[in-house]
Symmetry: C2
């Protein structure tokens, strides 16, 4: 459709000079800074950009984009660097636009349960700012990701089973388009039928359609009562079937996370816990005291029907925080379990009734292939992650892991699911996207990309190849 | 950007012949059929299409679109005809594609809380089909609209305060693009980060980007306990402030609807009820018995603080149905109150904290102008409708009503809201869309329209003029 710009463009030196002149100390072409901006948490090799610009204002973003467009050089927005799918790698060279200094909470409207933040604000920073208002923002990918990055990947996390994902929780955006034009989508009203839903189109666009400069989010009152439980099962099937029944009964559970037995062992070691070495559900209940009590009783009855080994209640906020921190660190616990390894992470999500089949067959295949892995899941959403632990010095291990991933994804698609529940496509799932939605739908995505970024300067090479 | 096709195109006769040949008895150019397809529930004059095709399959839709594209003649998808904004009027001539015969419920997956339907299925028909599964689909615009039309306008209704709108409740689509290509967006999984969110882009696109042929929806278990109450207040301000506090406290109320005193009178007359002639909140609570009890107690305490005159409980399903049918008929009750009148309906939606100002000032202005009206509102969402009752024979009345609407919308925009919460833009709110979101965002919408429908054949003249 159009030629992807490349760092080899003869215009690169002129662009670098123009950026240096415009941005001064906010500009860097130092190798260490470039390498830091050419990696993420994925297993891909570093692909550094040609330079880094540190944005401090919407005007900075508009000017950087206008210059890149003028010189036909790629621009890649960079938040906290916690992508798992290679979103931040400068595979076609170009400029990394670091948004982390745009970290102001611009407005909190407690009376409307909304906040507007700059994209560099991290989820933990936002929740600190909200605490004194008795409010919170529930979306929590494991990492302390930036709100901009979370918006770009349509992120979710452990609370999505009750509170939805970034898709449901972004109300409005300020965004700079490829040509440097600043535009506004959505309002602070809870719903709207005013024209095309540009907000939802941009949420999950992985930096390929525009750069966010302000994001308006839904907030929630801190629940009156919170209870968390760990719940061990004799078999993985029992844990998964408990989850399926909780969801089918409509229990408004706030978190429902699965770890398999060996992942529990990794987490015990990493976070110095003593969880029983058995498949585990980590659950949390939010609501009024009576509603929480009711949810707990329902879930206990379901778990009993599925041969639960035991419940443990974390009643203090400190105990809860310790448990959830351990869950959020499962990725690093997995990494630590095989020194020097890298992780290839799967992210399939299936209709809840298909979850047992999706997980159990994937585990059987990994075991049969003798592939080390960890297994965690936002199972209340039908979403789970196998983290295949590979030795990067052994190319055969990467091949084996990718084969397992392919089998896992194809199974999820056959079961009516998606190749990615929350991580995005990035560099890693472009072929799966095509298998999942078909050439016609990907063609529609490409037509939109072409219309909104005719020179292909926004994060080229992501979502679909050759964009 | 491109020339809007027109019924005056010399290609029209050739198209009509080709459609007649392809569709036989599914094709009609009879005046009565054309006039029936050139109107809706808005106050606009009839603009009949040149012919009507009754689609019975996805292939029918694809063939009709391919022929229209080939001959550069507009095509307008038609569902139940219940639009309030002129969406169905053939303002540039062309073909009305009647979808009402595509009315099959294709699949119900109770174990996943999803269903897939053809676009001509109406919301009442769907709920009949779901009843035996103990499930329901909550989105309920007043009319018995088609699911296709509800998807096209991003509809909501009385239950949206708890269950969200079509934006949150459409999981996947089969859609025919302008060129006749059939494509699929989304899956039955609850969440996904797989590429651009085409589903959400198409939801609310008002027939201008594609024609839906299958729609996959989220379902909900019928609540264990339901209670409904009517609740009268001395002043409109007290009723609105009660609503604001219910929402701010996070009560998961299922319905929270406002009628002002004179609208209560109209509804009493139309539906033979004896509601007290005072501002009224109609509320419904869903959940377990304990949770419903808790919600009721909280709401009663809030209402007491706001000088409630009295609560009435509708405990039987029959009483509840009678009340909600009366509410859904408020539009017709308003029409009946002034024989021969037409209705110009407003649809602003504001952040909840701004709702009292938005409503009370609009009421003051209508009273000062001596404009007859009714007032209903999905106030839990910050959304309300003034229905200005005009004598179509008196042009000055239409002008006055539109002036009041303009004041009302501009106030809503100043308060951080939107010109349309659920009805869509259609013919009526194109200037307001521009005021609300700005030329840059409308420019992005136009670029998408141009990319996906380069000949402008899909419902031209809607959303933005000259599309």
């Amino acid at each position: 459709m159009h030629t992807t710009p490349s760092a080899n463009t003869p215009q690169l030196p002129a662009l670098l000079a123009a950026l240096q002149s415009r941005f001064g100390t906010q500009f860097s072409a130092a190798l260490a800074v470039r390498e830091q901006h050419g990696r993420d948490e994925s297993a891909f090799d570093i692909a550094p950009p040609d330079a880094v610009v540190f944005a401090q204002s919407t005007q900075d973003v508009a000017d950087a984009l206008a210059l890149c467009q003028q010189h036909r050089v790629p621009l890649i927005p960079f938040g906290a660097g916690s992508s798992l799918e290679g979103h931040l790698l400068a595979v076609h060279g170009g400029i990394s636009l670091d948004m982390s200094r745009m970290d102001a909470v611009l407005a909190i409207h407690p009376e409307d349960l909304t906040a507007t933040v700059q994209p560099g604000v991290t989820r933990k920073q936002l929740n600190e700012a909200l605490k004194s208002h008795g409010l919170f923002f529930p979306i929590d990918p494991g990492a302390d990701a930036s709100i901009g990055g979370m918006t770009a990947t349509r992120a979710s996390g452990t609370n999505a089973v009750r509170y939805g994902t970034m898709r449901e929780n972004v109300l409005a955006l300020e965004v700079v388009a490829a040509n440097g034009e600043v535009l506004h989508t959505g309002t602070r009203a809870k719903k709207s039928s005013a024209g095309y839903d540009l907000t939802r189109l941009l949420v999950g666009s992985e930096g390929t359609l525009g750069v966010f400069t302000a994001i308006t989010l839904k907030l929630y009152p801190l629940p009156e009562a919170v209870m968390a439980a760990t719940c061990s099962f004799a078999t993985l099937a029992d844990a998964v079937n408990t989850t399926i029944q909780i969801i089918q009964l409509g229990v408004p559970i706030a978190r429902c996370e699965l770890l398999d037995a060996q992942t529990v062992g990794m987490v015990n070691t990493h976070s110095r816990l003593n969880l029983p070495l058995a498949p585990l559900l980590l659950m949390e209940f939010h609501g009024s005291p009576a509603s929480v009590q009711e949810q707990v009783e329902t879930v206990q009855a379901i778990a009993q029907d599925n041969h639960v080994l035991g419940f443990d209640w974390a009643s203090t906020p400190e105990e809860r925080t310790r448990l959830w921190t351990a869950r959020h660190n499962a990725y690093f616990a997995g990494l630590q379990s095989r020194p020097g390894c890298k992780v290839i992470t799967t992210d399939a999500c299936v209709p809840i009734s298909q979850l047992a089949q999706a997980i159990l067959q994937s585990v059987d295949e990994a075991n049969a292939a003798q592939q080390p892995y960890f297994l965690v899941g936002h199972v209340g959403d039908g979403n789970f992650h196998m983290g295949y632990l590979i030795d990067p010095a052994q190319p055969a291990e990467r091949v084996r892991a990718e084969q397992l991933n392919t089998q896992l994804v194809r199974r999820a698609l056959r079961l009516g699911g998606t190749c990615t529940g929350e991580h995005g496509v990035g560099l890693h799932k472009q072929d799966f996207l095509l298998e999942e939605t078909g050439a016609a739908a990907v063609g529609m995505m490409r037509a939109i990309k072409q219309a909104l970024d005719p020179y292909g300067i926004l994060n080229p090479g992501k979502v679909f190849a050759g964009n």
